[in-house]
Amino acid sequence: MPYVVERKPLTLSERLYFPQILAGMRVTLKHLFAPNVTMEYPEQRPAIPVGYRGVPTLVKDPHGREKCVSCQLCEFVCPPKAIRITPGEIPADQADRAHVEKAPKEFEIDMLRCIYCGLCQEVCPEEAIFLQNQYSLTGYTRAEMVNDKARLYELGGTLPDRHFKWDKKKSAAEARGHAAH
């Protein structure tokens, strides 16, 4: 059954139209002298709220070490398939990192595909990928819009780490190594 919207009958002043137009013109005139509500962008920048989802970046731990272990979960979860990782192995002779075993050889995020959904940050088991405050990204070519590993670390910088999971693991291995053999 159609739903009928009951409309109130128009008053005389409404039907004359002109009083209504004049009232409207009063409103627009007020706006004419009201201060601007826009932001003059390149000079003025908006305050970025907490939890803002900007450009996805790779971060390092406070000791400047790579956190990503190239588990490729972000690549898997990425809805537009913007992430492309080439996994690599950390050689056994790299004393401080060998126990992590795995690190990305190449890590690319195609910002022409990225939809800033934040699922990669959500899924990351190593807290290595974060959508940070950067929101303005430009380039002249498609290739420029693909952030490679170096660029991702440059954008990401260092974030505090609560766990130092791999350090704990290493110290446990060393403690056991001394105790057992």
């Binding site: 588990c71 490729q72 996994p87 992590v100 190594g177």
Partner: protein
Amino acid sequence: MIAPPKPDLVTVNIDGQDIAVPKGTNVIEAARQLGIEIPHYCYHPKLTVSGNCRMCLIEMGTPIMDPATRAPIMDAATGRPKINWIPRPQIGCATNVSPGLHVRTDSPLARECREGVTEFLLINHPLDCPICDQAGECKLQEHSTAYGRGYSRFVEQKNVKPKRTVLGPRVTLDDERCILCSRCVRFSKEVAKDDVLGFVDRGSYSTLTCYPGKQLKNNYSLNTVDICPVGALTSTDFRFKMRVWFLKQTPGIDPESSVGANTEIWSREGAIYRITPRQNDAVNDTWMADSGRALYKQVKAADRLLAPSLDGATTANEMALKAVANLLVGRTGPVRRDDDAASPAHRAGAPYQGSVALVGSGRSSVEEQFLTKKLADALKTSAHLVSRVGPGDRILVSADRNPNVRGALVTGLISKLPAQQLTSLAADIDAGKVKTVVSVGEDLTAAGLSAAQLAKVSVVYLGTHRNATSDAAKVVIPTLTVFEKSGTFVNQQFRLQKFAKAVPGPAGVNDDLITLAELVAAAGGGIIPFELGALWAAIAAEVKPLALVTYASLPATGLLLDATPWAALPFCEGETLHFKPAAAANA
């Protein structure tokens, strides 16, 4: 054939459902037939039962028998026999069915037991899932989802063990992840017959290791990686290369020998990452040789032929085909773009029969061999084939290293077994009878033709990789590897098995079937479809043993053909896992 004796069937009741299974079946297999999965780690259907993981604990009971009548006592309320449930759980893998056996696989007790086992396993298991290659196909991961508690009550330090122990040239062990199921130990001993693995030390120090001075280096070592329920045994080749959930699985056939082991080809975006066995209880069980797993590397090999060439210079596909067409009808002189092989004028005055020799291949698929046969017919000649013989290992690599010699017999490309050397062809060349040799994927130099003999004739080479023959050839047309095309092989049991295209071929390289069909047309053999469905209609119509077969309807485990017409041929293979040579079988 003698019909197998009817197995004694035993009726058991699992989770309230009755099922009749053969005597000797264990509870895990019986439950599997009902679609009930009993979680397990150490049990493997193709290995002996060791019963050390304790994951498959179930509750079981037997009907209470009346001591006087030896008949089950019935419960008046339900009308079913009363069951005497054993108060303690039993392991399903080592419990064989007995008449009237009752099993509860999902009772509170069974669940509690599995949760306890899972918690103990996870005490020392590292949180490696993000970097572990097994993640995604890990039994421990799966069962932890079902039976894990989600957090750890273990407050002590986790056990720390070596992370990259090299067990052999192809296998790396991550000790921390090992749950000591001993599948790999049993496999090495029972299937590979190379008993090098074992556990040393006790308690949480227990470690998988090789016997001192030995390595896990037999040709079946990577099967231990496949059967490892966790990520402890890893393939050094595949380690950290790609997460398994990205990989697409395509059924394939191992082309390294006439066993025709069924394989699974794992690829992503046109790149193959690994090859694993695909279960076929009549051929390879769940195993395959390491050598067959490395074959995918030929797809991206540096010496791959990627473009047709004419007199050593790269040319267009069309020009190469025209050049071959000219050679086939004995026309000399430069190739012109407006040459039309199909026109009668082109063929007129070129009765060139006998001067073109054709070398087929036991590595070609049945479809390609059928087209090769068509080409031979059109050229009014018969194809030569080259046999390859190597030592058989009595497991899954046979002495006949061609995957499809029997296919050539079935399609009629050859009528007797091929020799290892092309001596008759060499003699014909020396005698000047042969002017052109068309080789479908065979390296003629390796088959005994000297460089001087090749120089006397125009060689047309269809092949995947560069070799002495492609260097000496007048025309080279690149073809696809077995991973880039679909087709069928006939293995040593005369089992017709199909394989599918796992990755696309290099840009510009035509499917072998297209190239062969065009050559047949150029040789005056008429138009033959190269699309598999239509081609199989033609094959089924012409090849008697393959009548009624279609490519689409071939079962995944293959179709056994009638081998009797070729029973008298002296095949070179010895015994393998599921094959006995006819001579031995008759003896």
